[in-house]
Subunit: 106 residues, 2 copies
DNA sequence: GTTTTTGGCAACCGTTCGGTTGCAAATATA
DNA sequence: TATATTTGCAACCGAACGGTTGCCAAAAAC
């Protein structure tokens, strides 16, 4: 079972969940109310997000509030970095991009 | 068949392929030589990358050179933007992030 | 104490995924 | 022309994915 951030954000529903949790911590039921699926389906998504630490939890009686953890998204940002330079700056080809990738591998 | 950039980069082999193509255009055989799988497996990955326009192709006789298209990765970058502000700047919580997400939805 | 609400867990189902093998088409080489 | 190389396509396989239903435990409400 591969479980990394890239795979976690591959699903559009999970991306929506992350966006909602970024605004405010929510319970599984609270989240599920915003989707056209069952609570269990959402719970499965939450479990995946938890496993790669994109969300954390906090118990409050019988309710569980899930919190978004932005730090883990850094991994994606980091991977994106060398490519970003390809469209960001004046050079729209290799050059420093190439160097960065080579350093990365060494 | 859902075929978007997020799903395309979910697979580690495909991310490796993109990094290689960012350095230089390559043929399926050339790419496959760098992996411990069959050429056909790599071809399948290339097909997926092609379908969401992360790579383009150019024929040269019987060979096909695949090129990396960085522009499509902007979609990921764009989605990441509001979250990036959560770890980049002084505020490590909502605020402008919240605003950005709300504008995005409207 | 009974009932309702919240939420996890397990089993199941159809589909997709990543991979392999086999084959055919097209180009290059002998 | 015969042969070898490059590549895509189709069929198949086991595993994972996304979803559902059913059930049970714990906390809250009555």
């Amino acid at each position: 079972m591969r479980r990394d951030v890239f795979q976690a954000i591959a699903d559009p529903t999970r991306r929506d969940i992350l966006e909602m949790l970024a605004k405010e911590a929510m319970t599984p039921n609270g989240l599920a109310a915003n989707f056209h699926t069952t609570r269990q389906a959402i719970s499965k998504h939450i479990k995946i997000l938890s496993e790669c630490q994109l969300v954390t939890q906090e118990y409050s009686g019988r309710e569980i509030y899930y919190y978004f953890n932005s730090k883990k998204l850094k991994e994606v940002d980091k991977w994106l970095q060398p490519f970003r330079e390809m469209w960001d700056k004046r050079f729209d080809q290799l050059d420093t991009v190439l160097k960065n990738l080579k350093n990365k591998r060494s």
